[in-house]
Structure formats: C-alpha cells, structure tokens
Amino acid sequence: MARSNANVQKAPSVVLRYGLAIASFAIALGLALLAQGFAFRNVEVPLFLFAVALTAWFGGSGPAAVTVVLSIVFFDYFFTEPRYTFYVSASELPYFIVFISFALVVAWFSAVRRRAERDLLLARDQLQLEVEERTQQASLLDLTHDSIFVRDMDNLIVYWNRGAQELYGWTPEEAIGKRSYDLLRTVFPAPIDDINADLLQSGRWEGELKHTRADGTDVVVASRWSLRRGEQNQPAAIMETNNDISERKRREDEIRGLNRELASRSTELEAKNKELEAFAYSISHDLRAPLRHMSGFAELLQKKASSVLDEKSQRYMLMIQESAKRMGDLIDDLLAFSRIGRVETQKTLVNLEQLVQEALSEVRQETDGRNIVWSIGTLPNFYGDRSMLRLVFVNLLSNAVKFTRTRPRAEIEIGCDQGNKDEVVVYVKDNGVGFDMKYINKLFGVFQRLHQSQSFEGTGIGLATVQRVVQRHGGKVWAEGLVDKGAIFYFSAPKP
C-alpha cells in the first residue's frame, strides 16, 4: 500500500499538475473578484499567494510558476490602477517586485517542504522493506537445524531460534531476557575471561561447551561464537551457534575405550605369542631328543640282542622304532603348522609355475615307479610369502600323489580358474580315492583324517597347514570330492 501511494504522489500527470495551477488561480481570482464586488479591500494578494502555495505544494515548482505569472498578470489587469489594462506604472513596479518575490518564496518553501516530505515517505517505505526482509531472514534462521541465539554484551539473550528451542526446551519468550550462562548452566572448557579475550580479539570463538537443558539433562555442544560490532566498532552482540555432539562424544569415548582395550589385548596377545614361541622352540629342541634316544637305543638293543629275541619281540622293537619315528613326524608337522601362525608373512611376487616345479621335485621320491600323468596349466603370478606358498603346493601335490596310489594310471591336474577379476583361484585335481562330501567340514581340521592310517599314512596336518597359509594370504580353501572318483582342492587369494 505504502509503495503504490508513493508512486501516485511521485508522478501525478502533467495535465493534472498544470490543471491544478490554473484551477487554483481561477478560484483565487474568482474569490478576489467576488470580494471586490462586495467592496472588501486588499484580499486579492493573500488569495493569489494562497493559490501559489497550494499549487507549489501539490503540483510542484513548474505549475507554481504558472500560477505566479497568471496571478501577476491578472492582478495587474483587475486590481491595480489603471484597471483592465496590463499597463504597469513605474511607481507600482516595487509593489509588483515584492509580490513576485513573496510568491516565489512561498512557492520555494512549499516546494522544499514538499520534497522533504516525499523523501521522508520514501525513507519510510525503504525502512518498511528492510524490516520485511529482516523478518524474513530471522524466520530463515528458524529453519536451520542449528540452535542459534544472540546475546548482548551483558549476556542477556535477545534472540532465540527454533533450533535453540528444540535443543534446550525453552521457548523464545522464556529465554529472551535471561542471562545465557545462568539459563544454560554453561560449563566452559577454559576460563571465561580467556574465551572473551579471544572473542574480542578475533571476532570468533569455537569450542565445546556443556549445557543443561530445560528438563535438567546435560548436552555437549560444539559452539561457535561470532561477535557483532556496532557503528562505532564497539562490541554489540554475540551470536552463538550450537550443535549437539553428545552422541558423537559418547561414541568417541566408546571408541577410545575400545582402543584402550584393544591395545591391552594386543599386548596380552603379543605376550601369549611370545610364550607360544618359546613353547614351540622348547618342543622342537627338547621333545625330539628323547624320541631320538628311544629310537636309537631300541635300534642298538635290537642289533645287540637280535640273536636271542624271538619273532614277536623283534616286532615289538620294530613298533617302538616306528612309533618314535611317527611321533617325530608329528612334532615336525605340528611345529611347521604353528610356525605359519607365528611368523610374519614376507610377501613378494611369486611365480606359481616355478613354485609348482619346485614342489614337484620335492614329492618326486613318492612318485617313483608310479604311472602319473601330470598336466600343469598356465598359472598366474601371485603376491605372497614364497616359502609358505611352497608348503601349500607340496601338501596338495603330495596328497594328490598319495591318494592316487591305488590307480594304475594317476591323473593330476594343476590349473587356474579365471573366476572373477578380484581373485586368483588355483586348483589341484586328481582321480584318486576321493572323499565323502559329508565329511567336508573335517577335511581341513588339524589331526583330522578321513582315511585309516594303514591305507594312507599321514599326520592330518597337511590340509590344515594349507588352509592356514591361504587364510593368512586373505584367501579361502575349499574342496569337492566323490568317493572313488577323485577330488579337487581349490584355493583363492586376492589379486596383487
């Protein structure tokens, strides 16, 4: 409304303004002539001046000038001697000049006054616009999720947004006018004087505060303060934006706690590992020696007393020696198995084909006199611990050789499945005695054997070793088998 009024007042049409000039002059003239008719004297000058002022006020300086000119001309014509002529005598000239000057002054005054009022109106409109905009901005602050309030330099709250209401539980009406520290029972991370000094110096402050809500519960907030300065650069108000980080703090505390626990666990584990290592070391030194003695002295006894020992006793001696040998093998395998878990893997790029050749030469003595058809496919390079991977192949190949022993023509295939792009899958396939899939869960266990030892010897640690090595390389092992139809062992590992 204010704006449309201003527009009308600002731009009345030229016709209207000059029409007003002529009309006001005409009315003044009419009234003057009327007054003259009733023999009133000296009314015409104030009437004309009134018309000039009126025109200047409503029509501006142009129409006012027209009124002045018309007034003077018709004043001269009707009201000065000689009447009804436009003649101006020299003696009346000053009178006219004074009249003109006076009219001009009146016109000027009203024009200035008019302009001042127009400026005032304009300023009012602008102010109104600004107020509207500010109100809109303030309601925008209400839209934010952050809790925002403004306090003056005495810490009295002067603004309180909806986020603050939601976070703390007080409405703006309840909060405004209160001292913020008292209302929120603020706990500062540093002396408040230091914080204020910081704020006054840099205009900003950030930190964590503890506040208490309306319902008495505590909340930890990440607080950001901005200082607003007045026109003379004096500190005027502080805007405080607070975000609830209680949950984050709680999680951080939780994580810190977990980390502490993890650290103590890993120290514990390290100690356990050391203990285990010492244990394994001791086993490898001390457990093998008595076995060697058992087997050695049994052998010596047999040699010395073989003439007096009967067949049964000879067999007993043999069994003592065999058992000692088997115990030795078990200890060796178990130590090798535990070593895989204890030592660090030293990863390099390993040529698997070369590794298979090495493993083959290692199992060669088991293949003597056998008819074995080997087919070795193209194998990729592999990122891993060479000596450990070698163990994998030695175990898998030696198994394949062992369990095809009953076959007149053994077929053993080593190959690579290009399964997916993230991992390498290598398999060893044989046409041996296979296994029953219902025992698959026992296949990779330590000391688990699916065959009787008189048909196939072994310690039951080989596949457990394979599994442990592969798992330490981030891969998986699995197998498929059919009784009397052969078996396939797979292992996978992430591609380098």
Binding site: H293, S295, E299, A324
Partner: protein, 149 residues
C-alpha cells in the same frame, strides 16, 4: 686310520653323546673325540684354561656344537670362536635337535661351517654322524695347527 683329526663335541645330553659315539665307533672314528658338557667347558678347552690348563694348544679338526647348552649356549660359543683371530680357523658344525629357522639363520650369520639337524630316526642319525665324521675328520684338510693323529 692314519690321518684322523680330533673332534671336539660340545653336547650336554649324555644319551646323545653315547649315541653319537656309538655311531662314530662303528666307523672307528670315536677315538679322538673330546666331549665337553657345556659352552663354558668348550671355551675352557679352546683357551686351555680351567680343567684344560695342562692341554697343549692344538686346535680340533672340527667342533660339533649343540645349540641348547647349559651356562654358555651354543650361539654364544660360536660367536666367541668366530670373533677370535686364532680360533676362527676351526670348522664349526652345529648339531642340533631343532628345526628352528632363526637358529639356523643366526648360526650362518655368525659364520658356521655346517648346520645339521639330528634326525629322529636312528639310521638317518647314524648316517649323518658318520658322514660328518668322515668328512671333517678324514676328508677335509684341517687348518694349520690342528691335531693329526
């Protein structure tokens, strides 16, 4: 045997000593074996001190060294021997029960001349000892200053 070097055996386990000597006996290699029971005695022997004060300072043709020994362990003995200008000429063969890789690596780093893991199986054990004895006491030409029979 005409040219037979003296073998210094450092071994604390009497049963192992007996088995080793038996194995060497079978090949007539046992006569010049000197057995000491721990690392300290081994060093005493080599430096001719303590119980071996009266010994002439000849070097053995080979030293068979166990690693797990009372008082001064095998690696320490090895380290002392290999850092002594005179003693480091003695060939040292570690003869141990253990398969521990770190022992082997440590021994080689100290300059050991051989590393043998005692097999559990008696036949293998005898074979290993015999081959060791034959090689070091008979075939190998020992460094100057060693005892020759």
């Amino acid at each position: 045997m005409e040219r037979l070097g003296r073998i210094l055996m450092v071994e604390d386990d009497q049963k192992d000593v007996e088995l080793t000597l038996t194995a060497l006996e079978e090949y007539n290699l046992a006569n010049e074996v000197v057995v000491v029971g721990d690392g300290e005695e081994a060093l005493d022997y080599l430096y001719c001190r303590g119980a071996f004060k009266m010994r002439t300072g000849d070097l053995p043709a080979v030293m068979l060294l166990d690693l797990k020994l009372p008082k001064v362990d095998g690696l320490e003995v090895l380290q002392k021997v290999k850092s002594d200008e005179k003693l480091k000429l003695i060939p040292v063969v570690v003869l141990t029960s253990s398969h521990e890789e770190k022992d082997m690596v440590a021994s080689y780093k100290l300059g050991v001349n051989g590393y043998v893991v005692k097999p559990v199986d008696f036949h293998e054990f005898v074979n290993a000892i015999r081959e060791l004895g034959v090689f070091w006491a008979v075939i190998n030409e020992p460094p100057p200053g060693s005892v020759k029979k």
